[in-house]
Symmetry: C2
Subunit: 388 residues, 2 copies
Amino acid sequence: MHSEPQRGFADSEFEARTRNAQSLMAQQGLAGLLLTAEHDVRYFTGFHTLFWQSPTRPWFVFVPGSGKPVAVIPEIGADLMRRSWLDDIRTWSAPSPQDDGISLLSDLLAPLARSGATLGVPKGHETALRMPLGDWERLIRALPGLHTADAAPLVQSLRMVKSDAEIEKLAHICAIGSATFENVPEFVHIGMPLDACFRAFRREALAQGADDAPYLVGAAEPGGYRDVISPPSSTPLAAGDILMMDTGCTWDGYFCDFDRNWAIGHASADAQRAYDVLWRATEAGLAAAKPGNSCADLFHAMSAVIRELDDNGGDIGRLGHGLGMQLTEQPSHAAFDHTELKANMVLTLEPSLSYGDGLMMVHEENIVVQDGGARLLTTRAAPTLPVL
Amino acid sequence: MHSEPQRGFADSEFEARTRNAQSLMAQQGLAGLLLTAEHDVRYFTGFHTLFWQSPTRPWFVFVPGSGKPVAVIPEIGADLMRRSWLDDIRTWSAPSPQDDGISLLSDLLAPLARSGATLGVPKGHETALRMPLGDWERLIRALPGLHTADAAPLVQSLRMVKSDAEIEKLAHICAIGSATFENVPEFVHIGMPLDACFRAFRREALAQGADDAPYLVGAAEPGGYRDVISPPSSTPLAAGDILMMDTGCTWDGYFCDFDRNWAIGHASADAQRAYDVLWRATEAGLAAAKPGNSCADLFHAMSAVIRELDDNGGDIGRLGHGLGMQLTEQPSHAAFDHTELKANMVLTLEPSLSYGDGLMMVHEENIVVQDGGARLLTTRAAPTLPVL
């Protein structure tokens, strides 16, 4: 394995992200951005903690039209936020259900409201307001004159093109994921309950250097699987099963997201055929993943191969997506998404299909788009369905 | 270790939860509940998947005034939801940014809007609307006549009192966490980088039977630590450090949440004193955790002991909380929370204090409130600061 990249980012990275946002804000007539979601907050500040898993406390970052972002956060995070590049950190002792940061935010946003300015708030596709809706309603009522507009396209357009430092982290966790999958034949065997396979997989990912393996789904069923989002059963692996594991492991807050398929003992001709179609659909995706093409182009390139076996390409809704601080990010490889591919976008290629009697198969690789074409971040899956 | 409980729940459990909700809805004049958050959806349906880690797709459950809940979900979850006790499952092929379930929801809620009824939506403390804010605004505009009211107190009051089957799962994961902490002296040693300790801890928790260890924070610093929410550094453990690890491990979707402290090599008198105060504050909490007392009573019982060393009890904001499907749930052991303790509430006792020159220490156990008093679910921490 290659050596570990450095953790965190230089302040210059956050400065550049903020400058880029401010330039788009000026173009779009936004006087500021209010961010409440973990990944948006981390993107502009570097604030990185698992504490977001507790729903108790809201966290806010305001990006003004110029100058550094301002943090409005619970006191418990002050020490960690002070290590960031921010200067203006306003805190309260949370939880405080009567006023969880709302009066601090009102004070901060009052000048915008007085001037009838527009505040950008991510409220579009793939976003959620990470604060109580009642507090949001209260905040808006307290700031008559303030307009709000959806800032999801702005933030997502920045986040979907990665910096070199981000790509280094993504390449690192993809390499860890690949090494973990390569070792599966050493720790998975016929007769092993599926939940034990999952536990062994997570332990191996950690041993390979992952910080964590928070996402692991999959299935093992006779002849093929029907569902790709369930927790594992405790059914022992049996000859004739098709096993799939799909993992999102993390390193320094960045995800890989890919899967592998195996036949247990022996593979049916149907499963081999499905695997071959998906493998070649991925090849078509790799060839199409170059700057200037769109996500829809990628979708159609993969779809054309999938159609050899499946008229509608399954019901997953898309054939891949962006990848970064979140397991899935914008854009989507779907007929509706005309986002232009750009160098330094990190993407999954995730063709899927239905076959046989209600069976499905999924296949996934992670890539970075470069000027010459796609570079694989994952070790390419075997061209034929491997047998365990 | 005791034997593993059964995974999942009998349908009767979901029937009872729904009946209880409907009885409160009738009292509060709510014609239905709209749920968007993972844990609320799982509470009423049993729908359990890690797929929520992807922000792409919203998921909705509607609890009517009588009868079974209705699911409005992406097609990718249909197979799993059909295994639940629900009959009415409405799906769309997601993602579909132009209409991610909104017209299906509009149809479902139209009768309520026509009759000017009130829809309960969790919008209070500790909740977040898990769908794009823009879609929510669109939905409300499409349903003139519909009133909404905060259903957070209703849902939280149900969820904070656990069933016997839930307590069995919580006891199981607490036992796994305890066994993991007991083995720390076997896999942690002087000179080991803190991030390697974390990795080893997660591997051990999995080996002990946890499904995952998604939450692990902590610190190791000379003489004591200053921050309890950071990711681990790669600094090697050194003699004189105080090491703390705080974990949320999961089993079948239920969390433990507790921590342990150790002195590396030797312990300062200050750290021993802080540990002793917190240990006795926990004893005071254990004695006060009985039906009829309030969360504020619990807070004051622990605070009285903490005050021996720290006038304000640190800035964590509370001294424990509810525990269940989420790492932290309602209620809060804080002066502002007058929730009455009831049998079958599962709680953390989490006294913390500041001492010395900006140092802090935290201590945590998990309990279930019973008619006779508190029962520990975790193996009680050693009464004096253990030395590794």
